[in-house]
């Protein structure tokens, strides 16, 4: 189904702290991922690919990189006269900086009220997933659900307020447990992609204001579950919820697997991103590239293996990059060696340096750092 009658709301700040190194200077949504993307591209592309034409992007702080990336929304076809992309930075009515999703929604209440769509999809930005939201909406309508929560079976993300779910055979959620602390374990858990009627969302927002809710999950969903039809929609394709540097690293490396790549970069549901008109990647004489995901604009004269290179990375002669993620416009000097490193944008490794982490503990090198 084409989800024409759906409003998208994207929270770009949710769980910023879980990869605090990468989000020190940016929002979760604008964290670079997969060679040429930022996290927000995945959810945003999912939304527009299924026909959503109006998307509100909720931001809190450090959103310059996000604004720069999204621009007018043109790459997602969201630069429109009618509908399109709306950036929703904090809108202060004397409430102070918002602390939770409920707070953020309250400050965006006008945006929600002024929209004509019947349904709303709420989504966080720390999710790598290529999914047809049309099917999700279809499921929501078919089940006559009040709320549908996308969920996944597996290890619980190491994040607070994760909803652990129990369902009956029909997919109806019978029990939600959710704690403000982090819990280990495995099972069915909600990834924060939720569908509900717009009118219902407005009701929740005003109720939250009246009763001073902190958490949508704990203060509303858990308490009201028995009175509502809440359904679980199981995701059956590649889906990763980023909860730490380690999952960021592991999810990046998962792109080297062709089956995962096929699911994430589906040709019929492309992942859109800002276009930069770099020239094709150039491989010099004596270069050696193996099992790597390489963006345009790279210049490779040395060795690269099991790695993700963002646009404009230059690997000089004799340098070797292994099991690493190297972001935009980094320079790896002659005869330098990197192993299990996450290198943020515009970094420089001078010649003959050697930096090595471990696949279970990748080393992070900050933005603009010269070593």
């Amino acid at each position: 189904m084409r989800a024409n009658n759906v409003l998208g709301i994207l929270f770009t700040d949710a769980y910023n702290d879980c990869i605090s190194d990468l989000t020190a200077l940016r929002t979760m949504g604008s964290v670079p991922f997969g060679g040429r993307y930022r996290f927000v591209d995945f959810t945003l592309s999912n939304m527009v690919n299924c026909g959503i034409a109006k998307v509100g992007v909720v931001t809190k702080s450090n959103y310059r990189s996000l604004m720069d990336h999204l621009g007018t929304g043109k790459p997602w076809d969201l630069s429109r006269k009618n509908k399109g992309l709306f950036l929703l930075p904090p809108f202060n009515r004397g409430m102070g900086m918002y602390k939770s999703r409920v707070d953020a929604l309250r400050s965006a209440a006008d945006f929600v009220r002024m929209s004509n769509e019947e349904l709303v999809i709420l989504s966080d930005a720390n999710i790598v997933l290529n999914m047809d939201y049309g099917k999700l909406v279809e499921y929501h309508i078919e089940k006559k659900a009040d709320i549908t929560i996308c969920c996944k079976e597996g290890k619980y993300p190491q994040l607070w307020d994760i909803m652990k779910l129990k369902t009956d055979d029909d997919g109806k959620i019978t029990k939600i447990t959710c704690s403000p602390s982090i819990e280990e374990g495995e099972g069915l858990f909600g990834v924060n992609i939720i569908v509900l009627r717009k009118a219902f969302l407005e009701r929740i927002i005003s109720e939250a204001a009246n009763e001073n809710y902190d958490s949508l999950e704990r203060d509303f969903l858990m308490k009201s579950l028995s009175k509502l039809n809440v359904y679980a929609y199981k995701i059956d394709t590649f889906c990763s919820v980023i909860d730490s540097m380690q999952t960021y690293y592991d999810t990046s490396m998962a792109l080297l697997n062709p089956e995962n790549r096929k699911q994430i970069f589906d040709r019929d549901n492309p992942v859109y991103t800002k276009v930069n008109d770099d020239m094709p990647a150039i491989y010099g004489i004596g270069s050696n590239a193996k099992n790597s995901f390489i963006a345009d604009g790279c210049k490779i004269e040395g060795e690269v293996e099991n790695s993700i290179l963002f646009r404009g990375v230059h690997i000089a002669k004799g340098a070797s990059v292994k099991n690493s993620i190297v972001m935009q416009s980094c320079y790896i000097g002659e005869d330098s060696k990197l192993n299990c490193v996450i290198m943020d944008k515009y970094g420089t490794i001078r010649p003959r340096k050697s930096i090595s982490g471990d696949t279970t503990y990748p080393i992070y090198i900050g933005k603009n750092i010269t070593i």
């Binding site: 040429r36 991103t273 020239m279 094709p280 099992n291």
Partner: protein, 406 residues
């Protein structure tokens, strides 16, 4: 009414480019892919934008569908503008009947109305089939400083190649004193690059006069510019010394692509101050597998490389399977080179498939007679069957059956 524009550009993109054979069967020459992620027309369009010319008329005639589609509203070149921007100008029906563009000058003549809307002082006339990076604003300054009626960009070419070009003779000030069109024994090596800057009031006058002249071929090089010269107008040659290549033939297109890998060739696409923009499909980054061996090549996003690539230009969404070899070749978007296939000294057009074990092209060193050697071409959407063999200089225009030799 559009706002007054100081200088607008008219881009001649109607040419068939018949010497490119199968590559231009369905598309106009300016839409032919080049350099991994570009098409030829990206160069003049990007030059315009980088030079501050934001009003561009693109004159199309031959097979315009793909070109129109590619240019769209011009957004990829920042040419979607409130005033000006890119305009596709096709021949149209008029009260006195329908007329195709009969020559380069006639094409501009038929669009005098378009140009007049912007009331420009100067009009740049560019051709859509050259690869070069040039600042037209500098040329315009030169044109103004000389108070010229027409300025022609000029390149000094090697003497042995001079006979292929329209040549110019200039005095010490750069003023053109004489022309020579493709002479057998050239006395000058100053070739015209097909880039003209006109003072619009002058050009308008000569276009109308040329149109009324019987037997005129309505061509800039043959009719309009000689007429201006005879009438004593101030014509100047603007010297240019960067990379410039006419990609009118299979061999020159192949060479121009490989020039990108040749440090001596002096064409650098990585320069951020003079970017070449293009309208590209949305693709993930390229994947180079553990079985791949890539040397001295350009590869573009969305490609999946498992085989061996050497001294080649690979476009977007190309698949090269294990044990396949691509050498000294150009592989255009969406093409697939299957297991164990060998592509050498060849151009594989868009979405063509070279099945496993097939061999396309020949190494000139293994060729007995060098006169017989040339670049092999497989046309768009065609298949070269399993273990088929395509000889050097062959142009594949229909599917090749498995095991066949052509």
């Amino acid at each position: 009414m559009a706002r007054k524009t100081e200088c607008l550009a008219m881009l001649l993109a109607g040419g068939q480019g018949s010497r490119l054979g199968i590559l231009t069967k369905k598309v106009a020459k300016p839409a032919v892919p080049y350099g991994g992620k570009y098409r030829i027309i990206d160069f003049p369009l990007s030059n315009c934008v980088n030079s501050g010319i934001y009003t561009v008329g693109v004159l199309t005639q031959y097979q315009p569908l793909e070109l129109n589609d590619y240019i769209g509203n011009g957004q990829a070149w920042d040419l979607d503008r409130a005033n000006g921007g890119v305009h596709i100008l096709s021949p149209y029906q008029q009260i006195k009947g329908t007329d195709w563009y009969r020559g380069t000058a006639n094409a501009i003549y038929q669009n005098i109305n378009f140009i007049d809307r912007y009331n420009p002082e100067y009009v740049a006339v560019l051709s859509g089939d050259h690869i070069y990076k040039m600042d037209y604003s500098k040329m315009l300054m030169f044109h103004k400083a000389n108070d010229a009626a027409c300025t022609i960009a000029m390149l000094e070419v090697p003497w042995e190649e001079a006979s292929r070009f329209g040549l110019m003779f200039t005095d010490d000030d750069g003023r053109i004193t004489a022309f020579e069109e493709k002479p057998k024994n050239p006395k000058s090596n100053k070739a015209s690059m097909g880039v003209y800057m006109f003072t619009w009031s002058k050009l308008r006058e000569y276009l109308i006069a040329d149109e009324e002249k019987e037997g005129s071929s309505n061509d800039f090089g043959k009719d309009v510019i000689p007429a201006m010269h005879e009438a004593g107008e101030r014509l100047f040659a603007y010297p240019f010394d960067g990379y410039w290549k006419d990609v009118g033939t299979i061999d020159s297109l192949w060479e121009a692509n490989l020039d990108l890998l040749n440090p001596v060739a002096n064409i650098d696409l990585s320069d951020d101050t003079w970017k070449i923009y293009s309208n590209n499909p949305v693709t993930p980054p390229q994947y180079i597998s553990s079985t791949a061996a890539v040397q001295n090549s350009l590869i573009t996003g969305g490609s999946h490389i498992e085989g061996e690539i050497d001294y080649s230009v690979v476009f977007s969404n190309v698949t090269v399977e294990e044990d396949a070899e691509v050498k000294y070749s150009i592989v255009m978007p969406g093409a697939k080179i299957e297991k164990g296939a060998k592509v050498q000294y060849a151009m594989i057009a868009e979405n063509a498939v070279v099945k496993s074990g097939a061999v396309v092209g020949e190494d000139p060193q293994e060729c007995k007679d060098l006169n017989e050697w040339g670049v092999a071409v497989v046309g768009p959407n065609l298949t070269v069957g399993e273990k088929a063999k395509v000889k050097a200089k062959t142009m594949v225009t229909e599917d090749v059956k498995g095991g066949a030799e052509i």
